[in-house]
Amino acid sequence: MDELLLSKVRLGVVAELLNFDWVAFSELARSLDVSNGNLGAHLAKLVDAGYVEEEKSFVNRRPLTRYRLTKRGRDAFAAHVSQLQSLLEPAT
């Protein structure tokens, strides 16, 4: 199991990013229904692990932080979900 993805919020972040090129911090917070501080801490761990890439810019003088999944993150997600499924197989 990928310990980083055992957290439900971090797994949710990676799932949210899977079909998207870039997703803004505010969009992730809204979709996952978590506080900014909580999400920021989880995203920092994903960025540090190289699962997620961060881009900071300014739009109309307002800061915009967006995230996207790296290949490493995508591979880790696929492996983790496969392991979760295999964990459930004997029970079903």
């Binding site: 899977l18 079909n19 998207f20």
Partner: protein, 191 residues
Amino acid sequence: MERIDATRARDHLAMVERILAESQPKLCAGGEYFLIWGIGSAYVTLLFTLANRGLVPSAALWSGPVVLGFCVLFSILRGRSTRRALRASLVQREFFNVLWLTIGLAFVVNVGAYRIFAGTASAAIWSVAESIVLLYIGMHGNRRAIVAGTLVIVSLVVANFASAAFVGYILAAGMLVGYAGFGASELLARD
């Protein structure tokens, strides 16, 4: 090392399935591009056709590059605004790659190989590029794009068998109905 039990694994998988179901990639083509480029390319095609027949003064040909320049400027400015989007899907990025590649190639060929693709051949290249973009969108489940792309191709075939005097008009009509028409229909269907 943290452990996970079956109940928690099931809960996590259910969340992943829900998120993936809600974030199914949709291709939002953005009608403005098609409207602007459809009208622009039809205008240039008509302009050269009319100039060749002596129906407009050759000085009017200068408006062609101006119109195309406007189309390019619009596309660049619109592209910048989409880069600021809060969510940008992978399908959307792929679509813009196809759009820029085909329209860009048509533009380069028109400017760089104007002796090979002179006159109506130059207009036909635009029709081919536009039909590729439309059919690509059609491949992602947009039926209007399939119809529009087919119309552009039909205009090419009809122009091929038509009298030389009508070729430019037919190609321009294909661009207007197919490309610009698709753009208008996307804008109308947006809300």
